[in-house]
């Protein structure tokens, strides 16, 4: 294996020899396991859990390999490697997911060891992207850059990555376990729909600590995470999480896959009993062995030191001139660019949602371009968002126009972050073996219907999220408008929910009425938008706020009036 030092970047965790050796050993293990499967030494029953532990699923058309992008942050070098793998071993593209990972859809089992070896060259792998373990920890895609950030979530997400990898207690949990961390005033990580959601804060002394929300999740039984403890000091971070996982391991159901997630345990025990169990376990664990050492935290924080920002004025004349001369750029600037903590810099969201496009898909050419742009404009690093977009987190305001022109030329310049065209959609029945209905065609039809960027801005913040089955990989429960694909005697129907919210005011959407056909669904979404525009108190009132004020009745009336 040729190692290519992808870590020589600001903001990227640098593997040490232990990390590197571990990943290399796992690749070799899997190579032998694949050989044994192909030779018949291992049956499919024996092999399936092994391949899943290495991120390899069997989907409708081929194997699907899910690559971990720890907390959604990677280097330009790593993205180039993903592009290279997509070209050599897949069909020239990849799909960015709601867990900030990347999936290839056309993988051959016999190629997988070589792919994992190629990933290991750039300190990447597919571990913990499947199976009943702690999955890739997600965080704010603006981490380390956002103006409203209080605590850098990467530090603690990396601590969790190291702590959970091969942790013997967490390798065979009752079910998969998802953790998200947010360290900013705005929740951009959908914290309360996770098994454990962590809000990192600082106390009056400036010390970092965490609010622990437990038992959130979507799927068949959606729940909003409940506050189990408001303040856990940094030194107790691992002890408290371990206590939660131990209680889950002990009491979580293993007899029924649909009742095995921690959300069901919290619901069935009740918050008070569950919390008491966790606190009791925490009291037992608390002590030197589980204390998170400040030296370790600082050592990891060092990896995420800020890049060498130039001292710049916050105001950019070049930016103002470009804004005045190019309305399309001005629109993108208003919609896709966020405030940065360093003067003269900005955070740019690269939309993977062109009108009529497939949400989250990027061609290998696009990946190469983004890698180049990350190097040129953002210190060689980028992020994947849980909304299936990419982010260049540290762009000089002076250079935003140059960046956007290059993105736009490659169909990556859509101005729709957070707007109605910024649709989350799972792969659905076009790829997924679990799906009941297609998601992507509906996302394409809706984004095409609302392609006009001026119309999108007029509508304002309105997230549509689409899932092709009740497993809810498209997060439909927390979409301002959610769409769930169902199969009715061989025909695809779509159930519409409204009022979902994935931010700190997390809410599960309500079903609006009977499900509709694919064609009707696009018209129904437009009708919902029309009713919202007709009823909102002013241009600043968001869709979810209008809905809360006027209720469901006017929306139902418009959609189901003819029934």
């Amino acid at each position: 294996m040729n190692h290519i030092a992808p870590g020589a970047r600001a903001g990227i965790y640098h593997y040490d020899e232990i990390d590197r050796r571990f990943v290399a050993e796992r690749v070799e293990q899997f190579r032998k396991q694949v050989d044994r499967r192909l030779s018949g030494e291992l049956t499919e029953e024996e092999f399936k859990p092994i391949r899943l532990m290495n991120g390899l699923y069997l989907q409708l058309h081929a194997y699907m390999l899910r690559i971990a992008v720890p907390y959604g942050v990677m280097s330009a070098t790593q993205l180039r490697k993903l592009s290279e793998i997509g070209r050599v071993y897949d069909k020239g593209y990849g799909h960015f997911t709601t867990r900030q990972n990347l999936q290839y859809n056309w993988i051959k089992l016999e190629d997988t060891p070589a792919i994992l070896n190629a990933l290991a060259e750039v300190d990447m792998h597919a571990l913990q992207t499947s199976g009943n373990c702690v999955r890739n920890v997600t965080t704010d895609p603006f981490v380390g850059a956002a103006k409203d950030e209080v605590v850098d979530g990467r530090v603690y997400a990396e601590i969790l990555r190291q702590w959970t990898t091969m942790h013997p207690e967490f390798t065979y949990l009752p079910r998969k376990f998802k953790i998200a961390i947010s360290g900013a005033a705005s929740d951009r990580a959908a914290v309360r729909i996770h098994d454990v959601g962590l809000l990192a804060r600082r106390n009056d002394q400036g010390e970092a600590g965490f609010s622990f929300y437990v038992g959130g999740g979507l799927g068949r039984s959606p729940f909003v995470g409940k506050l189990v403890r408001d303040w856990v000091a940094e030194e107790d971070f691992l002890a408290y999480l371990e206590a939660i996982l131990r209680v889950y391991n002990q009491y979580g159901r293993r007899d029924n896959i649909y009742k095995a997630r921690i959300k069901i345990l919290v619901h069935e025990l009740g918050l008070e009993t569950f919390t008491a169990e966790v606190e009791e376990e925490f009291a037992r664990l608390r002590g030197p062995k589980y204390r998170l050492d400040k030296g370790i935290v600082e050592g990891i924080r060092h990896h995420f030191a800020p890049p060498p920002f130039e001292e710049l004025p916050d105001h950019s004349e070049a930016l103002e001139r470009a804004k005045a001369s190019d309305p399309a750029f001005a629109n993108w600037l208003a919609v896709n660019v966020a405030e940065h903590k360093a003067p003269g810099y900005a955070i740019a969201t690269i939309s993977l949602k062109p009108a009529g496009g497939i949400p989250g898909d990027a061609t290998c050419d696009q990946m190469d371009l983004v890698a180049d742009l990350a190097e040129r404009y953002s210190f060689g690093e980028l992020r994947v968002t849980h909304v299936q977009n990419l982010v260049l987190a540290h762009v000089k305001k002076d250079e935003l126009y140059d960046l956007w022109k290059q993105l736009d030329a490659a169909e990556l310049g859509s101005a729709n972050a957070g707007l109605i065209g910024d649709i989350i959609a799972c792969p659905g029945l076009d790829y997924c073996a679990l799906a009941n209905a297609r998601s992507i065609p509906l996302a394409q039809a809706i984004s095409a219907r609302f392609a006009d960027p001026v119309r999108q801005r007029t509508i304002g913040e309105l997230g549509i999220k689409i899932s092709g089955c009740i497993n809810a990989c498209g997060h439909h429960h927390v979409g301002a408008i959610g769409i769930l694909g169902v199969d009715k005697k061989g025909t695809e129907y779509y159930q519409i929910t409204v009022g979902g919210d994935a931010t700190l005011t997390t809410a599960i959407g309500d079903i609006l009425g009977p499900s509709v056909t694919e064609t009707e669904a696009v018209d129904a979404i437009e009708a919902i938008v029309d009713v919202y525009l007709a009823n909102r108190s002013d241009e600043g009132e968001r869709f979810v706020d209008t809905l809360r004020r006027v209720g469901h009745a006017p929306f139902k009336e418009r959609i189901y009036a003819a029934d």
Partner: protein, 106 residues
């Protein structure tokens, strides 16, 4: 009996798998060989399908050829056998959103 003739009997089934080494969708053809195209798939009466499926599973595992083997419903449209469900139509052709990929692209 050809696939077309058998499908006329109604309520037919075909048997499918994913090829172990590359995951490609395959179908059980005439004479027990696996084929890549649904057009070459053998069709079985419902009453025969279970026994054929069991034998195909046993053989595929023994030969390390296919995984996730099952039977699916086949119907007839304009005189041509087609999978009854959207899921199987997508498997036989490829993603509806990428007609340049999968078997439909060949």
């Amino acid at each position: 009996m050809s696939a077309k003739d058998r499908s006329k009997e109604g309520s037919m089934k075909a048997i499918t798998a994913n090829r172990l080494r590359d995951g490609d969708v395959v179908f059980l053809g005439e004479g027990g060989r696996w084929v890549e195209s649904f057009a070459e798939a053998a069709l079985f009466a419902r009453s025969d399908a279970d026994a054929v499926l069991a034998a195909a599973k046993e053989k595929a595992e023994r030969e390390q050829f296919g995984v996730d083997i099952y039977a699916f419903e086949v119907t007839e449209e304009n005189g041509v056998p087609v999978p009854a469900t959207m899921r199987e139509r997508i498997r036989t052709a490829g993603p509806t959103v990428r007609t340049d990929l999968g078997k439909q692209a060949a």
